[in-house]
C-alpha cells in the first residue's frame, strides 16, 4: 500500500462521507481539524473507516490535532500503524 494510495482513499472518504462535498479542492497539507473542516465526531468515524478499509486500528489517542491534522499526516499514521 503506497502513501499516495492511502491518501487517495482517505480523501475520497473525507470528501464524500464527512465533508459531503466531493468537489472540494482539499489540499494534502490543509489543516482539517484546526481549519474547522472536521471535528472529533468525524475523527471517530474516520477511525472506524480506516479499520474497515485498511485493517488498521487507530487508537483514540491518535485522533488528535498533533497526529492527524492533515491528509498527509493521516496517511503517515495509517502506514505507521500498519507496519508489522
Amino acid at each position: 500500500m503506497t502513501k499516495a494510495e492511502v491518501q487517495r482513499r482517505l480523501r475520497d472518504y473525507i470528501l464524500k462521507d464527512l465533508i459531503r462535498n466531493p468537489s472540494y479542492p482539499l489540499a494534502d497539507d490543509e489543516a482539517l481539524i484546526k481549519g474547522g473542516l472536521l471535528d472529533s465526531l468525524d475523527m471517530a468515524r474516520l477511525a472506524v473507516f480506516v479499520e474497515a478499509e485498511f485493517g488498521v486500528y487507530l487508537p483514540d489517542s491518535d485522533l488528535t490535532v498533533q497526529a492527524m491534522n492533515t491528509l498527509e499526516q493521516m496517511a503517515d499514521q495509517v502506514l505507521k500503524r500498519a507496519a508489522p
Binding site: I19, R20, G36, L38, S40, L41, A44, A47, D60, V65
Partner: protein, 578 residues
C-alpha cells in the same frame, strides 16, 4: 430517594464520608482511559482539604470562585471543597486545542468582571497568563499546585452548615458569547430537583450512574455529580474528549462497572450507533442498563430506534430508553419519561403543525404525518404552562411558549437583575422553548428564537454572523446562520450563507471560505456544516433591517433541494457540509 429532610447538599456527603468511608463514591476515568477509584472517605477528605485551601486563598463565604479546569478529580474535589466552605463555585469550560487562547482568556476576563468573582482556580500551565490578564480586577488567580500546598486537613463537620436558601453554585447557561448568564441555584432548589429526578427514574441503592458529559454543562453536573452524591450511589465519570473519539468507552463502562443509569443528548445516540466497531460489541453485556435518558437537544425517534437496534443484540432493552427536558434555570429537569417504557410517540399532521401550530393526531407512519417524541411527564414540584405571545393560556395540543414554575427555580442570574426580570413572568420562568401538552405528556417542538443546537451545544446565530461579517471578502451584515436538521448525525448542522463583496474573484472564494471556517473553529470550537456564498441581495432582511433567519433557511433549503433534484445527488434532503 427523598431529600426532603435535607437542608443542604453537604449532609449526604458528610454522612457517607463519615459512616461509609471505604465504599466506592466515584470512578474517575481520565482522557487516557486510566481509572481512579475514589471512596466516600477520600472524596470528603480531599474536598475538606480544598475547602480549607480556598479559604486560605482569601475567599469568604458566599464569594464566587471560578474553576477554569477540565475533566479531573481535582475539579471535583475543588467543587465540593468550595461547597463545604460555603463558597459558591462555578465551572468554566477549559481551553480546547481549537480555540484561540487569547480570545478564550478574554472571555474569562469578561466573566470574572461581570460575575464579580473573587478567585479563579486553574492548572499551573494556565495560571501566569491568566493572572497577568486579570491584574486589573479584584480577583486572584491561583494554580491548583498553590492550592494543594496550602491544604490542611480540617474537620469536615466543622464548617457552619449553609442555610437552605443560600446560593450553592452558579451554572452558566447558554447566552451569546457577549452575554454571560450565571444561574444562581440555592441548596434548597438543587435538593428539590435532584430529589424529583431521583424519584422519576426510581433510583435504587444498587444503581451506578455512568456519564461522559462535561461537568461545566448543567446536565453533566446535575446527573453526573449531584444526583449520585446526593443519592449516595457510585458514579463513573468518563472524559468527554475520550468518549467522543471512542464512544465504545461508554458501553464498556456500563459493563465493567455495572452501570445502570445515564443521560446524554440525541446526537450521542447516533454517534454510538455510527462510530462503534462491530467487533467491540462481541461479548458486551448491556442488560443491566435500566435507564438511558435522551435530553439536552430535540429528541428524534430515528435516533432512539437506531440505538436500540444496534445495541439490542448486546442485551440493551428498549424499555431503558427515555427522554427528558430541562434547563439550568430550573436546576436540571422539568420532565422525564416514566421509567420502564420507551417515550411516547405522538404522530401528528404535519400541515396543521406548521400552519395552525396545532398537534392534531394522525395515523402513524403515513405520508403527511410526523412523529414527535414526548419529553415525558412533569417531575414532582414542577408546573408547566403553554402560552401565546400575549401570555394567554393555550389549550392542550396547541403550541406556544413553555413557561415553567417549580420549587427548584433559580434565585436569579448573577449580577444581572435585568435578565432575571426579563425571563420572569409573575413567578414563571419563560423558557424560550415552544411545545405543547397532551394527556399529561410534554412535547417540545422548537424555539422562540433562532438558537442552533448542534451536538448538544447551543450556538447563537448572532455570534456566527458577527464572525462572518469580520472576514475579509464577506459583506458585513449580509451573513445569515441557521441550523438544518441532519438525520444521519441526529442533530442540526450549522449553515452559514454569506453575500460576497463584488470585488472577490472566483479564484479567491476558496480562501474566504477557509478563513471563515478557521475563524469559527477558533472562536467557537465548532465545525460549520455548510458554507454557501451568494450574490449581493440574496439574503432576506426584515423591514427593520434584521436578518430573517427562518425565511433565509427556507430559501436555502429550496435552493439545495432544487440543485439536488437537478441531478446533483440522489438524496434531495442531504446537505453538503461545504
Amino acid at each position: 430517594m427523598n431529600l426532603a429532610d435535607r437542608t443542604s447538599l453537604l449532609e449526604p456527603l458528610l454522612d457517607r464520608g463519615t459512616r461509609d468511608p471505604e465504599n466506592l463514591a466515584l470512578v474517575f476515568v481520565g482522557e487516557e482511559g486510566l481509572a481512579q477509584r475514589i471512596t466516600w472517605g477520600r472524596l470528603l477528605e480531599e474536598a475538606s482539604g480544598y475547602g480549607f485551601a480556598l479559604q486560605e486563598a482569601g475567599v469568604a463565604r458566599e464569594d464566587l470562585v471560578i474553576l477554569v479546569m477540565d475533566h479531573s478529580p481535582e475539579l471535583i474535589y475543588a467543587f465540593w471543597g468550595a461547597l463545604l466552605a460555603g463558597i459558591v463555585p462555578t465551572i468554566f469550560p477549559y481551553l480546547t486545542e481549537k480555540l484561540d487562547p487569547a480570545l478564550y482568556r478574554g472571555r474569562v476576563h469578561k466573566l470574572v468582571e461581570q460575575a464579580q468573582a473573587r478567585l479563579v482556580v486553574t492548572f499551573p500551565a494556565f495560571q501566569p497568563s491568566l493572572a497577568t490578564l486579570l491584574a486589573d480586577l479584584d480577583c486572584r488567580v491561583v494554580s491548583l499546585q498553590e492550592l494543594e500546598s496550602s491544604r490542611e486537613q480540617p474537620d469536615p463537620h466543622g464548617w457552619p452548615p449553609p442555610r437552605a436558601e443560600q446560593p450553592a453554585f452558579v451554572q452558566y447557561s447558554s447566552g451569546t458569547t457577549g452575554l454571560q448568564k450565571g444561574v444562581v441555584l440555592s441548596h434548597r432548589a438543587i435538593l428539590n430537583n435532584v430529589s424529583a429526578i431521583g424519584q422519576a427514574v426510581e433510583i435504587r441503592g444498587d444503581d451506578v450512574v455512568v456519564s461522559w458529559l462535561p461537568l461545566h454543562h448543567d446536565m453533566g453536573l446535575i446527573t453526573g455529580l449531584m444526583l449520585p452524591v446526593l443519592a449516595g450511589i457510585p458514579s463513573v465519570l468518563l472524559s468527554p474528549f475520550q468518549w467522543v473519539r471512542d464512544p465504545k468507552t461508554l458501553l464498556q463502562a456500563i459493563q465493567d462497572y455495572r452501570g445502570t443509569v445515564s443521560w446524554m443528548p440525541n446526537f450521542a445516540f447516533n454517534h454510538c450507533a455510527n462510530s462503534i466497531r462491530e467487533r467491540d460489541l462481541s461479548g458486551l453485556d448491556l442488560s443491566r442498563w435500566r435507564v438511558l435518558i435522551n435530553a439536552g437537544e430535540p429528541v428524534r425517534l430515528d435516533s432512539l430506534r437506531l440505538f436500540a437496534g444496534r445495541f439490542g443484540p448486546c442485551g440493551f432493552r428498549e424499555s431503558a430508553l427515555g427522554a427528558g427536558y430541562g434547563m439550568a434555570e430550573i436546576t436540571g429537569a422539568v420532565s422525564i419519561t416514566p421509567i420502564g417504557r420507551p417515550p411516547r410517540v405522538d404522530w401528528v399532521q404535519l400541515r396543521r403543525l406548521q400552519e395552525a401550530r396545532r398537534a392534531e393526531p394522525a395515523a402513524a407512519e403515513q405520508p403527511g404525518s410526523t412523529p414527535l417524541v414526548s419529553s415525558g411527564r412533569l417531575l414532582a414540584g414542577v408546573e408547566v404552562r403553554i402560552v401565546d405571545p400575549a401570555g394567554g393560556l393555550l389549550p392542550e395540543r396547541q403550541i406556544g411558549e413553555i413557561l415553567v414554575r417549580s420549587n427548584s427555580m433559580l434565585s436569579g442570574y448573577r449580577q444581572r437583575l435585568d435578565l432575571t426580570r426579563a425571563a420572569s413572568r409573575e413567578g414563571w420562568h419563560a423558557t424560550g422553548d415552544l411545545g405543547y401538552l397532551a394527556e399529561g405528556d410534554l412535547f417540545v417542538t422548537g424555539r422562540l428564537n433562532d438558537l442552533i443546537i448542534t451536538g448538544g451545544r447551543n450556538f447563537f446565530p448572532e455570534d456566527l454572523e458577527a464572525i462572518a461579517s469580520r472576514v475579509h471578502g464577506i459583506r458585513p451584515g449580509r451573513a445569515v446562520a441557521f441550523g438544518v436538521e441532519d438525520a444521519a448525525l441526529g442533530t442540526e448542522i450549522i449553515v452559514l450563507v454569506c453575500e460576497l463583496r463584488e470585488e472577490v474573484l472566483p479564484a479567491d472564494r476558496l480562501a474566504v471560505e477557509r478563513e471563515l471556517r478557521r475563524r469559527v473553529a477558533q472562536e467557537l470550537d465548532v465545525t460549520l456544516g455548510a458554507i454557501r456564498f451568494v450574490e449581493k441581495g440574496w439574503v432576506i432582511k426584515t423591514p427593520s433591517g434584521k436578518v430573517a433567519r427562518s425565511a433565509n433557511r427556507d430559501k436555502f433549503q429550496r435552493l439545495t433541494a432544487a440543485e439536488a433534484g437537478a441531478g446533483a445527488g440522489p438524496d434531495a434532503s442531504q446537505v453538503s457540509r461545504l
